[in-house]
Amino acid sequence: MNLMDALFKKKSSSDVAKDRLKLVLVSDRANCSPEIMEMIKNDIIQVISKYMIIDAEGLDIQITQLETDGNNGNVPALYANIPIKDLKNGTKR
C-alpha cells in the first residue's frame, strides 16, 4: 500500500480478496445460493413487517459459524440483523 492509497483509504488487494472469499465461503459452506439467501431475506421482511416497521434496506442476513460449548465444534447459524424503524406502530393492529 503506498502513501496515496493509505491517504484515500483505498482497500489493499489482499483485503479485497479476504472479503470476497469470506462471502463466497459462506454460501459454499451452507450449500446455499445467493438467490436462496435473497428469498429468505424477502420472506423475513414480510413476516416481521406484520408486527413492526423495519428498515428493509439495512437488513442483513448471513450464514456464519457459531461456536458451541458442547460437541467441540462450530455449528452454522443464520444471523440476521434487522434494524427496527418503529416499534409501536405494529403492536396494536
Partner: protein, 264 residues
Amino acid sequence: MSEVIVITSGKGGVGKTTTTANVGTGLAKLNKKVVLIDTDIGLRNLDVVMGLENRIVYNLVDVVEGNCRVKQALIKDKRYPNLYLLPSAQTRDKTAVSPEQMKKLTDELREEFDYILLDCPAGIEQGFKNAIAGADRALVITTPEVSAIRDADRIIGLLEANELKRCDLIVNRIRVDMVKRGEMMSIDDVVEILSINLIGAVPDDENIVISSNQGEPLVGSDTQAGQAYMNICKRVMGEDVPLLNLGGKDSFWSKLSSIFKKGN
C-alpha cells in the same frame, strides 16, 4: 505407531507433490521409516520430483491388481536408508483402483512403516476418494490465492465429513514482499478464513524449482523452503517448533537472536 497421512489441496498446482516429496524425505532424515504413495493414476509425477523415475518396474495398479507383491513395487531411495516410493501407473485411469483396495493397501503398509504419505490428485472425484480412504490425518495445502483457498475450504469440509482424525493446514508460496505491500493475504488471513490448525508455512522460494529440476528434495537444506519443510516434519512428529519468521516483522530482538543462532 504408524500414521497414514494424505496430502491434498483440491486445486491443482499448489504444491501437493512437492510437499509430499519434501515432508517424506524430511521424515526419513529424522530416522523414520517412510513410504510415499503417488495416488494420481494417469498423471504420475512424484517419481520425477523425487528423481526416481528411472527405477520404476511395477506400480500402484500392479500391486492392487495382484500382478506383483507390494515389496516388489516399492522403490528404495538409495540416498536415505528408510525411504521408499510406490509410484502411480501412467497408462491407466483413476477407476483402476477403489477406496477399499487403497484402505487394504495402506493397512498392509502400516505393519512395516512409521509414516505412509499419500500424494492426492487434484479434484474431489474418485482419485481423491481413493487417497483419503485409508488416511488417519491430512495435510491440506493452499496458497494465499482466492481460488486455492476456496478449494481448500471445500476439501476440509469433505475431510471432516469422512471423519479424518486430524486436519492441518500448510500455506505454500508466500511472498513476504507482497504481504508487506498488502497485495497478498498473510498466513494469519488464510488461517482465519479456513479456521483449521496451521502446521507450517512455506515461502515462495526459487530453490524449489531448482530442486525439482534436479530430482532432489531440498528439505533440511540451508534455504528458506528447506528449513520450513524440516520444521513441518518435526511438527508432524509432534514436536513444538515455532514458525519461521518469514521476514514478517524484523524486530530488534529477532534480528539479534538470528545473529546468535548463526554463531552456534
